[in-house]
């Protein structure tokens, strides 16, 4: 199944892309996906924040086809 991924701010720069659509296995969690990303890109990144369909989620959240997942550093607005 397919999900889209977005990266923001310092993580976007580190990864070198802003968004990508990828194929993942059924029952993949947000945590699994993040682990796969840091392994493939060979990066280290602390304190990542995660959203699915623009809502904050726990890392054990299971993904379903069509989900929009985002990873980003701590927010610094305001």
């Amino acid at each position: 199944m397919q999900v889209s991924i977005k990266y923001f701010a310092s993580l976007r720069e580190l990864i070198g892309e802003a968004s990508v659509t990828i194929d993942i296995e059924e029952n993949t969690t947000v945590h699994d996906l993040w682990m796969e990303i840091i392994r493939r890109k060979n990066i280290e990144f602390d304190n990542v924040m995660m959203t699915v369909n623009m809502e904050y989620v726990k890392s054990e959240r299971q993904l379903i086809a069509g989900d929009e997942v985002a990873f980003f550093p701590p927010v610094t607005g305001g």
Partner: protein
């Protein structure tokens, strides 16, 4: 209720005033608390010359609307305004304004501060500061409580 993301420079007090006048509810509110965040020329010992604010289009609006709606319900506010700047910001420009209108001051003060803390901790904005010695992402916000 007005929540808006602004690409262009705005003046916080003119925005509060023009929104307030447009709502035509003079005489209903007795208390308005507001907070304005503006760009300083200095952050954590670095001299800053300008800043770029990135955001997560779509989520930002959705998230700020939820903050405003929940505060309105919790404190039974008469109205709420949240504006946030994105893009390139220069020294002294306003970055954020949060205002809440209520019958009495307790609700106005508490809701304004609470909305601002929520915005700071969870609204998807990121600041990259330009200094005389290069640019750098701001790593975390100053604690507010």
């Amino acid at each position: 209720m007005l929540v808006d993301i602004r690409k262009e420079s705005f003046n916080a007090y003119r925005e509060i005033l023009s929104y307030q006048e447009s709502q035509n509810f003079s005489g209903e509110y007795g208390a308005t608390a507001s907070f304005v965040g503006s760009m300083r020329d200095f952050n954590e010992d670095r001299k800053v010359t300008s800043m770029t604010l990135e955001h997560y289009p779509g989520m930002t609006e959705k998230h700020l609307n939820a903050i405003a709606r929940e505060a309105t319900e919790k404190w039974r506010l008469l109205d709420v305004l949240i504006l946030h700047r994105i893009g390139k910001v220069t020294i002294g420009e306003d970055i954020v304004v949060v205002a809440s209108w209520s019958a009495h001051r307790k609700e106005a003060f508490e809701s304004c501060r609470s909305m601002m803390e929520q915005l700071k901790s969870s609204a998807p904005f990121w600041k990259k500061e330009s200094t005389t010695s290069g640019s750098k992402w701001v790593e975390k916000n100053t604690p507010g409580i």
